[in-house]
């Protein structure tokens, strides 16, 4: 009973916070609404006994939204005083499309003949996940790790303006590097 109440409470929070993302008139509120929605879903995942994934969702998304808020302030120039944000375009199509999609998905969710549970619950879900990750699917996960590292590097390269030639000179021999502000390691 308690589980059901908590689940529905979290569901309401998750969806309303999700709606708030596109309704509120401030960037900070938008990104932290999304963070709240993620936290609610993370807690629901905890209710569904997937502790590791649930906690991970909370961890990653709060961090990401903290960065997101800063991004939005940098690019869009917002402060708490400037709460006028209407960045909607093409709302005419977006609303019916998304309502349609919702009806379709909801119909599927409610009327599809979902199978009853097959297999048994592992004793320790987290340990089972770890074994699964590092056992037969280790190669896949290692590949995911490499992809993520590559993304970080390429993301920085894409976004950065200064290259190593700007820092170290044309022959890459200038030491210390010509940075606008020196770093802490003294390269």
């Amino acid at each position: 009973m308690v589980t059901h109440l908590v689940f529905w409470g979290l569901a309401v929070v998750a969806v309303l916070a999700g709606v708030a993302v596109f309704v509120v008139n401030s960037m900070a509120r938008a990104s932290y609404s999304l963070a709240l929605s993620f936290i609610a879903v993370g807690l629901q995942v905890l209710l569904l006994q997937q502790l590791y994934v649930g906690v991970l969702v909370i961890l990653m998304m709060v961090m990401e939204m903290a960065i997101m808020a800063v991004y939005m302030n940098m690019f869009m120039g917002m402060n708490p005083a400037m709460m006028s944000m209407n960045m909607v375009h093409g709302a005419r199509h977006a609303l019916p499309v998304s309502v349609g999609v919702f009806l379709l998905l909801a119909a599927g969710a409610l009327f599809a003949p979902w199978p009853s549970r097959r297999g048994s619950l592992p004793e320790d879900v987290t340990a089972a996940l770890g074994t699964e990750l590092m056992g037969p699917k280790m190669l896949a996960m290692a590949a995911v790790g490499v992809v993520m590292a590559a993304t970080i590097v390429s993301g920085v390269v894409l976004a950065a303006h200064r290259t190593r030639y700007d820092r170290f000179g044309d022959d890459l021999r200038r030491r210390p590097a010509a940075d606008p502000q020196p770093g802490g390691v003294g390269r």
């Binding site: 709606v19 596109f22 879903v41 209710l47 997937q50 960045m87 993304t151 920085v156």
Partner: protein, 100 residues
């Protein structure tokens, strides 16, 4: 809390996210829409796993979704920054070079 209710909530999250992704003008807001859709996806996968087939490989899928989210965010931020640098703008409409 049954598989139907969990999926219903997930459907609501996905639709709201879709609305955002379609309607927003700013790159970062479009990304937030996509994030919200993935949020719904996480809930749906977690629900299906728990109610239908609780063996560990399903959770691996969730981790892959999370990784995909990270990649999406990192690339999104990079693209937004580059777009901003080049165009002085962060609106999706101005980046329509490849649209027919």
């Amino acid at each position: 809390m049954t598989v139907r209710t969990v999926l219903l909530v997930a459907a609501a999250l996905i639709s709201v996210g879709l609305y955002g992704a379609l309607s927003q003008q700013v790159v970062v807001m479009v990304m937030m829409g996509l994030e919200l859709m993935l949020n719904g996806l996480i809930l749906a996968v977690a629900g299906l796993w728990w109610f239908c087939a609780p063996d560990p490989s399903g959770q691996v899928l969730l981790l892959v979704v999370l990784a995909a989210m990270t990649v999406e965010m990192a690339m999104g931020f990079a693209v937004a920054t580059s777009l901003h640098r080049l165009r002085r703008s962060d609106l999706t409409d101005t980046a329509a070079d490849l649209s027919g």
